[in-house]
Symmetry: T
Subunit: 73 residues, 12 copies
C-alpha cells in the first residue's frame, strides 16, 4: 500500500442461493467496469420472502477501489 486515494461505492447484491453468492454477484458486477477493486464491507443483510420461503438474499455492501484517473466515475 502507498499514498493512493480510494473510492467506495455502495451496491446491493441479490442471489437466490445465499449470502456469499449475493456478495460475489455484486463484486463481479462492479468488476465489469471498475479496475483495481480492493475490498468490500458488508453494510446490511436482508432478504425477500415469497410463499414462506426465502426467494432472494440481499446484501448491501461498500466496495473500495484505487482511483487512477476519474475519481467521480
Amino acid at each position: 500500500m502507498s499514498e493512493h486515494i480510494y473510492k467506495k461505492i455502495e451496491l446491493v447484491g441479490s442471489s437466490k442461493i445465499g449470502l456469499e453468492d449475493a456478495i460475489q454477484n455484486a463484486v463481479a458486477k462492479a468488476g465489469e467496469t471498475i479496475r483495481n477493486l480492493r475490498w468490500f464491507e458488508v453494510v446490511e443483510t436482508r432478504g425477500q420472502i415469497e410463499n414462506g420461503q426465502i426467494a432472494y438474499w440481499q446484501v448491501t455492501l461498500k466496495v473500495g477501489f484505487t482511483i487512477e484517473d476519474h475519481p467521480s466515475s
Copy 2:
C-alpha cells in the same frame, strides 16, 4: 406494492449447521402462523461455543409481513 401496512417482529433463529440455516429456521417458524411474510433484516449474528467448537449459530432478525386484520397479533 400498494398502501399496505406492515408489521415487523423480532426473532432469533438458531442452527447447528450455519448462518443461513438459522435464518431459514426462524422464517419457517414464523410462517407456521403468519401469512404474507414479505422480508427479513438481519439484526445481529452470534453463536454458542462448546468444547472449542461452534455448537449453535444464532441470528437475530426482523421479519416483516402485511397486516390483514389483526395488527397487534
Copy 3:
C-alpha cells in the same frame, strides 16, 4: 402517568400522499385492534420510486400502548 407497563410494536405505514399520511395510516391500522395507543417514534423513512416519481412514502415507526391484560398480544 402511573406505574403502567407499555408495549411497543414496529409497523411500516405507506402512503401515496406523503410522510405524515404514512404515519397516520399505520397509527390508524394499529388502532383498529389495540386500545390505549399512547405514542409513536419514527425509526426509518423511505419510499418507492416508479417512473422517476415517488410512488409510495414508507415510514417505519414504533407504536407504544398501555398493556391492560395480554402483554404478548
Copy 4:
C-alpha cells in the same frame, strides 16, 4: 440450549422505586401471559420528573422467550 426459535418483544416498565424495580415490573407483566421467558436486554433508561423529583423510573427493554407454538402471539 438447542435449535429453538426465540421471539423478542419490546416493553417499557415503570416504577416509583428505581431502575431495577421498573425492569422487574415489566418482566413480571410479561410473565403473566408468556411462558418460557429467557432473557431481557435494556434498550433505554429514562424517567419522569415532577416538582423537581423523579416521579417514575422508566426502562425500555426487550424480553426474549422460546416460541413453542404460535410465533406471532
Copy 5:
C-alpha cells in the same frame, strides 16, 4: 424482483417549501440522468435558518437504482 444488482448514491436535496419537496427535488434531479430509480432512504434532515426563519429544508437521502451496464457511473 430478480437477481439484479443495485447501486445506491447519496444526494442532498434542498427546498424552500418543505421536507417532502426537498426529497422530490433530489429524486427528480437523479432521474434526469439515471434510468431505473427504485427507492430512496432518508439519512439526515436539516435546514438553514435566515433571519429567524427556515430558509431551506435540506434532506440527505440515498437513492437506489438497478445497474444495467455501467455500475460505477
Copy 6:
C-alpha cells in the same frame, strides 16, 4: 463563513398540525432570545396519540447559532 464559533442547543418542538410546524415552532421560540440562528438538525421524530389520533407531533432538533459574546448562554 469565517472563523466563527457556533453553539448548538437541543430543543423539542411540538405541534398539532404536523412535523414541519413542530420544527418551525421550536425555531421560532429559539429566535425570541437568540440572535444569529444558522441551522437546525433533526434528531428524533415522535408523537403523542390520543383516542387513536395523533394529538401532537414532536420533533427533537439541534439548533446552531453563532456565538457573539456569551458562549454558555
Copy 7:
C-alpha cells in the same frame, strides 16, 4: 401536554453511593435553577475506580424542561 417547546441540557451526575443517586444528584442540581423539569434520559454510565473499588458512579443524562421565557438559558 400541549404545544410547548422543551429544551434538553446534558449533565453528568456523580455519587459515591450508586447509579440512581448519581441521577438524582444531577436532577436536584438542575432543579435549583430551572423550573418545570419534565424528564431525563440516561446517555452514558461510567465510574471512577480507586484502589480497586468504585469510588464514584457517574451518569451522563439529558434533562428536558418546558421553556417559558428564555430558551437559551
Copy 8:
C-alpha cells in the same frame, strides 16, 4: 493525569442481586490481577430470566487501567 497510556478490556459481570453488584463483581475480579484500574464504562445491560424471575443481572463493561510495563497483558 499525565502522558500515560491506558488499556481497556471488556468484561461481563453477573449477579443475583442487581446491576451495581454485577458491575462491582466484574471490577473486583479484574482487580485480582490488574493494578491501577482507573475507570469503567457500561456497554450493555441484560439479564437471565428463570421461572418468570430475574435469576442473573448481567452487565457488559469496559475497564480502563494504566499500562505500566506489558501493554498486551
Copy 9:
C-alpha cells in the same frame, strides 16, 4: 474528583489552519465566559472547500465543566 455535577455544552469550532486549532478556538471561546472547563469530546469533524482547497476546518465538540451555581447557564 468528588461528587460534582458537570454540564456539557456542544460547540463547533472552525479554523483556517487545521483540526487542533479548530478545537482550541472553541475551547478558548468557551473559556471566556465559563470557569472550570474540565474536558472536551470530539463529536464530528468536517470542513468547507472553496476553489478545491480546504478553506475551513470545523470540529463539533462537547465541552464539560463543573457546575458551581447556575446549572442551566
Copy 10:
C-alpha cells in the same frame, strides 16, 4: 449459568472459503490458548478483492469466555 465473570476479546478471522469458515478459524485459534470459550458475536464482515475475485473473507468478532484465574490474560 452462575455468578461467573466473563471476558470478551476481539479477533479478526480470515478465510479463502467463506464467512463461516473465517469465524471458525478465529474461534479455533482462540481455543488453542483459552479454555472455556462460551460465545461469539459478529462485529463486522469484510473481504479482500484480488483480480476481481474475493480472495479473503474477513470477519471481526468478539469471543467471550469464563474467567477462571487471570482476567487480563
Copy 11:
C-alpha cells in the same frame, strides 16, 4: 445557498505525513475531475503500522459537491 442538489461521494485518503494531509490528498484528487466541491465530513480514521511505526494515515471522508448536469457522475 439556494435550491441546489448536492451529491456526496466517499473517498479514502492516505498520507505518510498525518491526518490533515490524508484529508487534503483526497480532496485534491476529487478536485481533479469534479467542479464545485463544497464540503467534506470525516467518517473514519485509521492507519497502517509497519515495523512498529505508523506508515500511512488513512481517513475515510465524504465529499459533497453541487450537481450541475450529471447527478450520477
Copy 12:
C-alpha cells in the same frame, strides 16, 4: 495478506502535543511488547482542559496485530 488471525486491543494514548502524537504514543507503547502490529482505528477523541487550556489530548484507538502463538496474550 493470507489466512491469518488478528487480535485487536483497545488503548488510550495521551499527549501534551496533539492528536497524532497521542496516537503515536499508544502505538509505540503497544510495540514494546507486541510484535506484528498491523493497523489502528480511532474510536474516540477527547482531551483534558486545565486553566482554560488543553492540557492533554486523548485518543482511544484499537490496534490490530497478527496472532502468532498466544491469542489471548
